[in-house]
Subunit: 395 residues, 2 copies
């Protein structure tokens, strides 16, 4: 070869970074994995999806199989759901993407030039955070307590950044049934967060993947519903309420943001076939009925896991019982390392996500673990928690 390929690559990809999505979805088979927030396959509405696909192919083949835009009817359904929760949503403010992961990866592309500041929660969903880093963002982490993001700490940080002349490009938060901690931001903090966003002109990226999966208590307004000035970028997904493998998520934001997301969304709008299948499935109240079933089902599995933790873990292990979502976050007893416990748990046939995998900065999270009750059956949850509980004696 007379010339090398390497010198041809653009600056942003000269160094190869490992892939960010996908591999996490493959738990090692022999283990009972409580590590990942996979959906429960027992609840996939296979027959109804089959019917939806058949109807699309029977009645909408010309529009769904040819070159065409994303199906506007799906956007209308998303708008209707947003309006039902109090957001003054408009169709032209919604963009459908291939999963909310795609939306979360495109947002830094439109906001971040190298060196820009992005505010995240600690702990958080690193699948999204790693994309912010890849775009060159400087991260600032705000702690999360049992009431959600520490908004007082956020106010201090915003003030300090402003004093340095730094305006964050956005604040990334998972306010409802937070990943990984399961906690929910209180109403008072929600109001404070939205007010801070407006005061500092800092968009809030509200990742509400778990919002619909409430087991107990009253719904709180989303940040988007509280926002009067358009600073909230609301990201949602069908992955938790229908099926991740269909790869459908969405974003609601100001039109200027939607226009720019479409510029960096390499493939244009999301496929006409898959968006029609999801819309057909979801019509006539079917999605809402399915969500009601999911809430009952996941609530039961959450209770099974919590009871198993109380039974098998040392009394010093503490957790906040989540009111919804996919995860229980357990603070380990003093002196127990999540990494060490993970090795012992794997030797006993179970695994979890160590807290270190939820912090962008090294040196945090070794005192906590994330346990997903979403994927495994109640029987396997019980067995997995028992195995992890036994592992405490090994470390």
């Amino acid at each position: 070869m007379t010339a090398t390929l390497e010198t041809l690559f653009a600056a942003r990809v000269r160094e190869v970074t490992p892939p960010l999505f996908g591999a996490a979805g493959e738990p090692a088979r022999p283990l009972i994995s409580l590590a990942y927030g996979l959906a429960d396959p027992a609840l996939f509405p296979r027959a109804e999806l089959m019917a939806a696909a058949a109807e699309v192919l029977a009645y909408e083949a010309a529009d769904s199989l040819n070159y065409a835009m994303s199906y506007p009817g799906l956007t209308d359904q998303i708008v209707a759901r947003l309006r039902a929760e109090g957001v003054d949503a408009q169709p032209e403010q919604v963009l459908v993407g291939y999963g909310s992961g795609q939306i979360l990866a495109l947002l830094p592309e439109i906001f971040v030039d190298p060196g820009d500041t992005v505010i995240i929660e600690g702990p958080s969903f690193l699948g999204a955070v790693r994309r912010f880093v890849q775009s060159g963002a400087r991260l600032v982490t705000i702690p999360v307590d049992e009431y959600g993001m520490d908004v007082t700490a956020l106010a201090d940080t915003l003030r300090a950044l402003a004093a340095e002349g730094r305006r964050p490009k956005f604040i990334y938060t998972i306010p409802t049934f937070h990943n990984p901690t399961g906690v929910t931001l209180t109403l008072e903090r929600r109001r404070q967060l939205v007010a801070l966003a407006a005061e500092y002109g800092a968009p809030v990226v509200e990742d509400d993947a778990y919002l619909d999966l409430r087991f107990t208590g009253e719904s709180l307004p989303s940040l988007a519903a509280l926002d009067q000035e358009g600073w909230v970028i609301r990201v949602g997904t069908y992955s938790k309420i229908l099926a991740p493998g269909l790869r459908i998520g969405w974003v609601h934001a100001r039109r200027e943001i939607i226009d720019r997301l479409l510029m960096v969304k390499a493939e244009g709008t999301t496929g006409p076939f898959i968006t029609r299948v999801v819309a057909r499935y979801s019509a006539d109240g079917r999605l809402e009925q399915h969500i009601a079933a999911l809430r009952r089902h996941y609530a039961t599995k959450c209770e099974v896991m919590a009871a198993a933790i109380r039974r098998h873990f040392p009394a010093e292990a503490r957790f906040v019982m989540p009111a919804g979502g996919f995860f229980i976050w357990v603070r380990l007893p003093e002196g127990v390392s999540a990494g060490t416990l993970l090795n012992a748990a794997r030797a006993r046939g179970a695994e979890f996500l160590p807290g270190t995998a939820c912090f962008a900065e090294p040196g945090h999270g070794d005192d906590a673990i994330r346990l997903a009750f979403s994927f495994q059956s109640s029987e396997r949850i019980e067995q997995g928690i028992a195995a992890i509980g036994a592992a405490f004696a090994d470390v």
Copy 2:
């Protein structure tokens, strides 16, 4: 609002550019549009796709509906098809994307820093070329004649660029049944092009969307099949041989390129559900049988259009009869402007793509038009060509 949003956007999206894909797929309804290369809906294998979707949901729901990677079995099918045409393909050198349009939009993201040189054909497929421009590429255009890209002009250009110390990031070509001209690069020119790529260390992006749709003559080896040194990046799609709305395309290239494409592919690998549906449909020789039917069908429509052009257009309008693909490119008689003719044709109820829409630089292509025989029925093709033929008298 205390602060504006606009100053927050990253440099690359500060100015909004219009969306690049999608809108073209919506011909104005009352017209007979011969403008766009849509697939013929009469040939969508609806029942077989329905069966494939039902089988995936019946037998592979757990793997296709949850978080998972793109289906490896589809990659294996792509590799098998590439090997059958003589490419030494490996699965780890293939990436499946949401249409070849996505792949063509991601390639500049991994190769182009602002000011870099990209070589294109004139005329070409502007849907791809506009993405190169958006990444900041300086375009250099090589003319296309009835034997495909003018490889002698390319050699001169590469030499001149090298003298200036400029190495092109890639050369974009549609060698087989070219969009828009329908011509096919000769075997001799193919060999020359591959040799030039190796000599100058310039990757060739081979967009072979139409390769399988040959009506007459013998197949020629793809550039990828001739390439011994890994300079050819072969891009393919299921849009022309199955259905565009499924949004499945792919790329075969050196592993270093695949790794970087995955870095900029925001959503990770392509959805497990849709990739399994396409693989199930395509299995057991079904795709090859379908392609055989498509070849006969599109060949007939091409002949219908060619005969109609001979009957209705002025004798001075000239075209090269394509041996495959979706398009006939007609050179207009001296003094007839494509733009003027388009207005007259629309007034008579038909439309085409003016040649100007196929050149990146202004001032080219007003002497030619692209006519797509792919979408309309033979009857409508005849009516549309008659209407455009009548419009010549109006200009």
